[in-house]
């Protein structure tokens, strides 16, 4: 595992700035070797790739090639029917095809998860670097973050959704608000430890501006912990969305997110288990995959673990 990408190597690379092509080649071979030696990571990646493919296909007109029915098409006379050749995962309370809804659910749930992970990363890195470098900003921003963090997350999300109204974008926004403080903390911690490192001091001594140091020397090095954290938030966003759906305040019911489909099957667990069961499997697998990827990346990226095996 000595070749694994790690902080310190990465630091040196950034500082020494080797040719791009060289770095890319090295990265690819390292990545492949890493995957082979970490089956959990490999499994997680594979699931995420499959789910992403489903999400992308259902986003295009080709959706009908994998999901035969319109996920919103109502057919009250075929309600709560069990799995059959026509409806692989059965039908729900309004006669909608659960299989089609589940596949289309990948699009919605992954969109929520990816939006959250990306937005939180961008906001977290920006704020984290800002507060790591500015005492005044540190005091103000971190007090606000402490305030946000002092609410239990689901309860804050519940209150926020009640205020903002439940739409897909608002659910994303709410989860971003809830997750940003911990991302900011993580980045701030990295920044605080990096700014005293020798190579940063060297850069400073050679006359680099603060802005340059922040974005060329420090920001790239927050990448590893941010990716790990983002994968956790990716998984968490899917679950939070589902929990909000369960509490009846999530994304509007007719939009087929996994959380919504499961929530709509809640009253039918007894007489139509399939409504909640199949999307539950998809949701569980995806969240599991994202968490395994997060754990795997943590092991791979954390220099402190190198050589421990």
């Amino acid at each position: 595992m000595a070749e694994a990408i790690a902080y310190e190597e990465a630091l040196i690379e950034v500082y020494e700035d080797p040719p791009l092509r060289e770095r890319a080649r090295k990265w690819t071979s390292t990545a492949w070797r890493t995957l082979r030696t970490h089956p959990n990571l490999m499994f997680g990646m594979a699931i995420l790739v499959i789910m992403s493919l489903i999400a992308i296909i259902t986003f295009t007109p080709a959706a009908t090639s994998i999901a035969r029915y319109d996920p919103q098409e109502l057919s009250a006379r075929e309600r709560v029917e069990g799995p059959s050749a026509d409806h692989w995962f059965g039908t729900d309370a309004f006669g909608r095809d659960v299989y089609s809804r589940t596949l289309h659910g990948a699009k919605v749930s992954l969109r929520v998860a990816a939006s959250v992970a990306i937005l939180v990363s961008i906001i977290g890195v920006t704020l984290g670097i800002l507060v790591g470098y500015n005492r005044l900003a540190d005091n103000i921003v971190m007090r606000i973050m402490d305030g946000l963090m002092s609410f239990p997350t689901l309860i804050l999300a519940l209150a926020l959704v009640a205020t903002l109204g439940s739409s897909l974008n608002n659910v994303v926004l709410v989860i971003v608000i809830v997750d940003t403080p911990s991302m900011t903390r993580v980045v701030r911690g990295v920044v605080l430890s990096l700014r005293e490192r020798t190579y940063v001091e060297a850069a400073r001594a050679s006359g680099a501006s603060t802005i340059r140091i922040m974005f060329y020397h420090i920001a790239p090095n927050t990448l590893a912990p941010v990716i790990v954290q983002a994968s956790v938030f990716f998984a968490g966003a899917i679950l939070t969305e589902a929990a909000l759906g369960f509490l009846g305040v999530g994304i509007p019911e007719f939009i087929p997110s996994w959380g919504n489909i499961i929530a709509s099957g809640r009253s039918f667990i007894r007489i139509g288990f399939w409504i909640a069961f199949f999307p539950g499997i998809f949701l569980g697998l995806t969240v599991l995959a994202a968490n395994l990827v997060g754990d795997g990346l943590r092991d791979v990226l954390d220099p402190r673990l190198r050589g421990a095996e």
Partner: protein, 313 residues
Amino acid sequence: MTAYVIKRVIAVIPVLIFVGVLTFSLVHLAPGDAANIMAGDYAGPDDVKIIREELGLNKPLHTQFLDWAGRTLRGDLGKSIYSGKTVAELVSARMGPTISLTVAGGILAVLIGVPLGVLAAWRFGSIWDRAIQVWAALGISIPGFWLGFILIWGLAVSLRWFPVIGYVSPTEDFFGWIRSITLPTLLLGVNGSAIIIRMTRASVLEVLREDFIRTARAKGLAERIVLFRHALRASAIPIITVIGFLAAALITGAVVTETVFTIPGLGRLVAETVQTRDFPIVQSMLMLLAAFYVGVNLIVDLAYVFVDPRVRL
């Protein structure tokens, strides 16, 4: 030490002010108010208008804010729009179940999480490690309400080992209490253990690589002693941190768990009062929960000093 505690407590004040303003805005900007819900489904516009006036819900927002801030500063947390009961009355009636669940769930989480986390770190990269990691990932991947349904249908409805709904106070019927909290505790424990496993594994791994462990091993100490006497103790700080974090996670989990098992605790109180727009209660509950969380963090910070002599203030 005293100075440190004072400093920490003072630092809490701006946080609580922020929390207060935020909860007030959240609650009052939310569409819908208690008048409609109190009036019921058959009521019309005239009824709702009268109720709203009677309850003072039609006053301008800044007036309501000043009223509320004034009362809160005097220590008056307000009373329920619907029942006229004070926050203190409601909280004390609802506290028992939540405390039982979170404490029992927390203990179970630690009992499962710490040994498995240590084992995973000790056998890093082995099949044990991978299996435990998958368990930990599963524990935070399965939606709580989904697992709750399965537990209810399997163990409560089919086998009838446990009650389906409700909570029994331990002073009333001790074994009834045990039975009523078993399933929710299991649910919270599985989820909590996953969090603890991940944290324990990471911190023990880190410590195992430190020099003093090498020294201990070199001295020929039994692996068991190295692991439990040295490694685990040295990784106590991050584990304490996560247990503090767990307190908050369990409260979040309590909202869903109490809803699934129909247990009248604080989590359900918050969810219900948000849905019925019982503003005074929602505000005070959010404030209290935030204060609780801040308090737990304070205790965690103080525990560092106690556990690790290296932390000097």
